[in-house]
């Protein structure tokens, strides 16, 4: 792609190319691409149940995407939203299974536990960066895997629940489940919480000193440092809060969808979130919309597999391509100094 093409038709061209590649992959799988897309759209938007399930996926993607964008805006690469989401879900599941108190106490406690779990995990990477200058990319990559292993060890080993059938905690008491937005679906108020958080983050970035400092640290670290912004401290705070957002998201999956922690609660939401954050241009409100688009892909892919016989993994493939295509400097400034 030449610079001119990128400047003028970039996003539209990119979307068309991605759709064409997806169509090609469907044809490779022996399916009519039109049937494939129709099955995908029908599976995601074909009725109230389908739309609700798409919104469940939207919610699951929204929190880690906001987390990734939050860190990006501060100039940090949080590749660890996946691990933070798992740790948040683990803490939420353990707290939720242990609490036998009314919902109005239990639910906030579960969500806060999730945020703390994610914050701790993000905070480790932030502390390594702030204290030792350790590369947060490496740290978060490693922490992702450690999170999965730790969660698996705890729920299968010392904290094994008597009623667990797999690597999971006990089921949460029904009073601790997030209230549903629409009865008899899996769509809970987590969606509303996510959108509210996006609006709040947009406000923080646009209208608060803290948000300004984060953006300054991300956009022009040297200028920010000379202006008296404590860069190590900002890095630590940003990674911790980013982790908290992802961990909160993990807690909403536990309390709102699965009603227990399961080590496989995320099919890679934390990684897809990077694509979502980029598509949303790192703007919290656009990320809500981008999460919906990717939610359609997530929830439609199963129906595409069932009815058009296209393996659902084609969606992951296209998401990977989308990240490559969208990660131009317009959205994310590549690192220009040793950091």
């Amino acid at each position: 792609m030449t610079a001119r093409a990128r400047a003028y038709g970039g996003p539209a061209l990119g979307a068309i190319v991605l759709l064409a590649i997806a169509a090609g992959a469907m044809a490779l799988a022996g399916a009519n691409p039109i049937d494939g897309f129709a099955a995908l759209v029908h599976g995601a938007l074909g009725g109230t149940d389908q739309i609700c399930e798409t919104l469940v996926q939207t919610t699951a993607l929204l929190f880690p995407s906001l987390a990734v964008a939050f860190a990006f805006r501060a100039g940090l690469f949080n590749i660890g939203a996946e691990g933070q989401l798992v740790m948040g879900g683990l803490c939420a599941g353990l707290v939720g299974a242990a609490l036998a108190v009314p919902g109005w106490i239990a639910i906030p406690a579960i969500l806060i536990a999730g945020a703390f779990g994610g914050a701790a995990w993000g905070g480790i990477a932030g502390a390594l960066r702030a204290r030792f200058g350790g590369n947060e990319v490496i740290a978060t990559l490693m922490l992702n895997i450690i999170a999965g292993l730790l969660a698996n060890y705890l729920v299968v080993g010392p904290l094994h629940a008597p009623d667990a059938t797999g690597a999971e905690t006990s089921e949460l008491p029904a009073s601790s489940w997030l209230p549903l937005l629409i009865p008899d679906t899996r769509l809970s108020i987590a969606l509303v919480l996510g959108i509210a958080l996006a609006a709040f983050l947009a406000f923080v970035f646009r209208s608060t000193v803290f948000g300004y400092e984060l953006r300054a640290a991300g956009d022009a670290p040297e200028v920010a440092r000379r202006a008296g912004i404590n860069l190590p401290r900002t890095a630590f705070v940003a990674m911790t809060l980013s982790g908290a957002i992802a961990g909160f998201g993990g807690a909403t999956i536990v309390a709102g969808v699965l009603h227990r922690f399961d080590v496989e609660l995320s099919p890679g939401y934390g990684f897809i979130a990077i694509a979502v954050a980029l598509v949303g241009g790192l703007d919290p409100l656009w990320i809500v919309l981008a999460s919906f688009v990717f939610g359609i892909l997530q929830s439609g892919s199963l129906s595409m597999q069932a009815f058009a016989h296209v393996p659902k993994d084609v969606v992951t493939f296209v998401e990977g391509l989308a990240i490559l295509a969208l990660a131009t400097r317009r959205f994310v400034a590549p690192r220009t100094a040793a950091s």
Partner: protein, 285 residues
């Protein structure tokens, strides 16, 4: 584990793909590309090896396909990072998703079943041993090339101060792409070893984080090929030890975590001050 020699043999088998991947990570980082797509490179290589061996009946052609597939994936990283201004980390993440999705998709399309391929013609004991020897040889050669050749000097300069290289009349972008190609070839050998050397099938997720362990090995090896290979051998031995210690009641998750915990420890500098190349992961623009 019946004997110490049995343990050593298992450790070597576990270490070999890690050595290849760690060498790949080292050459890329020394040139200034932080290649987090190594996991994806191992994945496409392991898959291509099995798919081509299945189609042609020749595991050697499978090995070749593995090297080419991995080179292609890594070249995408190199080109995206140097020509299109895509951030390396973001591109690497995208390539890992692309590799995971692409192989899972192709597995169903080619073999008609999800999860794992049927058994194919593998490289056999002789081929497995040859690749193990090759891994050690590559470590030695790469160290010599980096230390003693003009190209190695340029690669090191590209990772430390690409601008200086530019003023010396060498194009750092091109050098970085070449480094990702060399790294891709090495990772390809590692991926082929996983599916056609150690085993004779491909299964989804069979690389299980080895590309990330390799990045840890690079740090532990202080960005030196021999050091990275040494760290990879240590991690391979840990992996072999896991089977022994598990019987003694040590949680397998703890053993599996050790390379990653070691990498975190290395980031704090407590294992001696290891320093990444100054321009590692830094864009050229």
């Amino acid at each position: 584990m019946e004997s110490f020699s049995g343990f050593l043999a298992l450790a070597l088998v576990k270490a070999t793909p890690l050595i290849f991947a760690a060498l790949a990570g080292t050459i890329c980082e020394r040139a200034g590309i932080l290649n987090i797509a190594l996991e994806g490179a191992l994945t496409v290589a392991a898959f291509a090896a099995v798919a081509v061996s299945f189609a042609t009946g020749s595991p050697l052609l499978g090995l070749l396909a593995a090297v080419l597939a991995s080179m292609l994936l890594c070249a995408l990283l190199g080109i995206a990072a140097t020509r299109f201004g895509v951030d390396q980390i973001v591109a690497g993440t995208g390539l890992n998703l692309l590799a995971a999705g692409g192989t899972a998709f192709a597995l169903v399309v080619i073999f008609g079943q999800p999860g794992a391929s049927p058994e194919v013609h593998a490289l056999g004991d002789g081929g497995e041993r040859a690749l193990i020897v090759c891994a050690f040889a590559c470590a030695l050669v790469l160290q010599l090339v980096l230390d003693r050749t003009p190209w190695g000097l340029r690669v090191r300069a590209c990772g430390e101060n690409p601008r200086a290289l530019l003023s010396a009349g060498v194009d750092p972008r091109r050098l970085r792409v070449v480094a990702t190609l060399v790294g891709g070839a090495l990772a390809g050998l590692g991926g082929a070893f996983l599916s056609l050397g150690e085993l004779d099938i491909y299964s989804d997720g069979m690389t299980s984080g080895r590309g990330f362990i390799a990045l840890a090995a690079v740090i532990f090896g202080r960005w030196m090929p021999l050091g990275a290979a040494g760290a990879a051998i240590a991690f391979g031995a840990l992996s072999a030890l896991q089977f022994v210690l598990q019987r003694a009641g040590v949680p397998s998750e703890l053993m599996q975590s050790l390379p990653y915990l070691a990498a975190l420890a290395a980031l704090t500098g407590i294992v001696g001050r290891a320093r990444a190349p100054a321009a590692d992961g830094v864009s050229l623009d």
